[in-house]
């Protein structure tokens, strides 16, 4: 719910924004939830890549945790509005955000490449050798 006060000098602007805000949805991905694309892990042989939009997140506010074939992304976005500001439109989300990603296999932790550029996190991960198919001995009785 967007709370709006309408000072008379802003009547025109507020009317326009109000019309637009009716379709606003939750998002952390830079666009309406209905329009944004959910990221998927892309696999190419023994390499997997993953991209996630994190606009406004600083490197220092980002944490990646690998646990077997699970990747957890913890991010925090700062609220940039000042206490004295009047809020005319509020669609962006602030605070802490967690995304858990299921990987196709466990990855080599020491070889994960992570870059954060212009609000987009891009990860390249390599399959751990231990993750490959292995034979299970069958004992005959």
């Amino acid at each position: 719910m967007v709370h709006m006060r309408t000072p008379w000098i802003f009547q025109d602007l507020v009317e326009e924004l109000d019309r637009m805000s009716r379709n606003a949805g939750w998002t952390f991905c830079g666009a309406d939830a209905a329009q944004s694309r959910l990221s998927a892990v892309e696999v190419d042989g023994d390499q997997a890549s993953y991209t996630l939009d994190l606009p406004g997140v600083a490197e220092t506010d980002l944490e990646l945790v690998l646990e077997n074939d699970r990747l957890r992304i913890l991010a925090r976005r700062e609220d940039l509005h000042q206490a004295e500001d009047e809020v005319l439109l509020h669609e962006r989300t602030y605070g802490e955000f967690v995304q858990e990603v299921k990987l196709p296999w466990p990855v080599r932790e020491e070889e994960v490449e992570a870059t954060l550029k212009q609000g987009v996190l891009h990860l390249i991960m390599k399959r751990s050798p231990e993750a490959g198919p292995h034979k299970i001995e069958v004992n005959s009785k």
Binding site: I9, F10, Q11, D12, L13, E16, L17, M20, N23, A24, T27, C29, G30, A31, D32, Q35, S36, R37, T51, D53, L54, P55, G56, V57, A58, L80, H81, Q82, E84, D85, E86, V87, L88, L89, H90, E91, R92, K117, Q118, G119, V120
Partner: protein, 124 residues
């Protein structure tokens, strides 16, 4: 394969080929708008955009923001949104800053439109 089947196959191949060439998504970027005594500030998420990808323009009192971001050869995202400006806003002095995929616009009010404190003097 008959001639008709070949034609159909060619058409299908061509259609798929075109679809792969450009996959443009038109998105309405999420936005915050704040106001204080001096200006209106607009914060808009445009992840992946560089300076040169963004066009901010004002025409007939309408502020338009357009960002075309090439995420990959097959994934182009177009972020587009417009706002009608109140005439008290000084659109000639708009400041724009792009940081971490967030576009920040500051649109000041004309000097005469800003609130002024009137000094009250006690009559002697």
């Amino acid at each position: 394969m008959t001639t008709d089947e070949k034609t159909v196959e060619n058409e299908v191949t061509q259609t798929e080929s075109k679809a792969k060439t450009v996959d443009k998504s038109y998105l309405r970027p999420v936005t915050d708008v704040y106001k204080d005594d001096d200006a209106v500030r607009i914060l808009m998420d445009v992840p992946g955009a560089n300076d040169e990808d963004i066009e901010v323009s004002v025409h007939d009192g309408q502020l338009s923001i357009l960002a075309e971001v090439n995420r990959s050869e097959e994934d182009v995202r177009v972020y587009e949104r417009s706002f009608r400006m109140d005439r008290r806003m000084d659109t000639a002095k708009i400041e724009a800053l792009l940081q971490r995929g967030v576009l920040q616009l500051r649109i000041p009010f004309h000097e005469e439109a800003r609130p002024k404190r009137i000094q009250v003097r006690t009559a002697s």
